[in-house]
Symmetry: C2
Subunit: 255 residues, 2 copies
């Protein structure tokens, strides 16, 4: 399994991904799922991948090969994010179809991607590409996109993320969302990669790779646990804990 997410704010975007891959419980490895293509001053792309590892690796190789050979279109030739996502989606579906003919139906070659980027002075954008090659855009109401094991890490995003959040706060929220998923699901695991892109910088602003033993990771996890405990302590008390208050919505006493 995998967990990748992208948050698109007014001031840039954040990408976050885990690194665990597994083909069964007894075949576990670690591979990066975050891939960057950057031409400082011209354009920046971040690509997050989930799904069949052979598919996602070959898609990345094809994107690079098209650049190396000058095949058109490629990530440097496309003139906007719409052309970029069409191109990546086409490569993805092509690669998925390559091996299906030799399969008896038992293997899932599917892969999903999140493509984030900015080209020149156009707006920075993030898009999620489905295995079928169709895709959706983030929006003002839903500024984040997720692929893979999305449920554990979604509530914190639902509560906190909006367009106007600072890029660093969004990045911390992404790490918390990832941390929650890692704790609850064995198939999502460090190292955790984080990319923070300031809009209009047209270069990759900050990129981290955090292992479990990393002091920043530990500090973040501990601070978050502590913050949750305090948040729980500050929740309103039940009426029976504060004598004198009226009873609230008690609809059934002991039978």
């Amino acid at each position: 399994m995998t967990y990748c997410l992208a948050i698109n704010t007014e001031t840039g975007f954040v990408l976050c991904s885990d690194s665990r891959t597994n083909a069964g419980f007894d075949n576990v490895s670690s591979y990066s799922k975050m891939h960057t293509f950057a031409w400082p001053g011209n354009r920046v792309f971040g690509l997050l991948s989930a799904g069949n590892l052979a598919t996602t690796q070959l898609v990345i190789k094809r994107l690079q090969a098209d650049l190396d050979s000058g095949t058109i279109p490629n990530l440097l030739s496309v003139s906007n994010m719409q052309q970029a996502v069409d191109y990546v989606a086409t490569v993805s579906t092509h690669v998925q179809n390559l091996h299906v003919v030799r399969d008896s139906g038992n293997v899932n070659f599917e892969a999903s991607f999140i493509l984030a980027g900015q080209i020149g002075n156009a707006r920075h954008e993030t898009l999620m590409i489905y295995p079928q090659g169709n895709y959706i855009h983030e929006s003002g109401e839903h500024p984040f996109l997720q692929i893979g094991e999305i449920k554990y890490g979604k509530p914190i995003l639902d509560r906190v993320i909006n367009r106007t959040i600072s890029l660093e706060a969004a990045a911390r929220c992404a790490l918390v969302s990832m941390n929650s998923t890692v704790r609850s699901n064995l198939t999502v695991a460090p190292p955790i990669e984080l990319l923070v892109y300031n809009k209009d910088s047209l270069r990759i602003t900050h990129q981290l790779c955090l292992n479990e033993s990393d002091p920043f990771s530990k500090e973040l996890s501990q601070a978050w646990n502590q913050g949750l405990v305090i948040a729980l302590q500050n929740l309103p008390k039940f009426y029976w804990e504060t004598p004198g208050l009226p009873e609230i919505a008690e609809f059934q006493s002991a039978k």
Copy 2:
């Protein structure tokens, strides 16, 4: 869908359940999924249900009918929680099998249950009953049990719940876990039922039914959101936000 959870602490147990049932997106209703059977001073049971509504309703009716007719075993005749869970599991599998013979294979008659209770001066226990009739017990390492849509609400439980947490703190945590699930999944919805059982009381200590418009629900949701925002604000800053600190784990600068 459904979300039900049970938390078993040293001082009692907490049960929490939503009330949404749906047979497709265009057939949505509201039914209680929390059922109580209590004989004050003698024994107390709470039963949470998920799955096919016809199945879970008939299981509850059968449990009541066995009590009314004095059929042995029943919830009043069983002498310990082991016998109680065996009995409920048998009724569940029997009811599930009733209608399968007339089905073409398209209907899922399955149901899961969480049974919590205390009989006399024996220890209070919680058990999760699978559709197949087998079951598992909570444990010191894993004091909570969930059925239905379990993922959204699990991270907060994983971080906070242990045997020694106060019963009221566990109840607030259960409501937060439920609140997160309701926000992220349309098929889990209020009214939310909450039962708090103090061990050895042998009566249902507190039981609440919280609607969306309930002041306590609103206050809890707002306080939790506020607590999360504060927790996020107190997370450690990235090295680039606090100039002078050493760089942490930056493995790749802009290409």
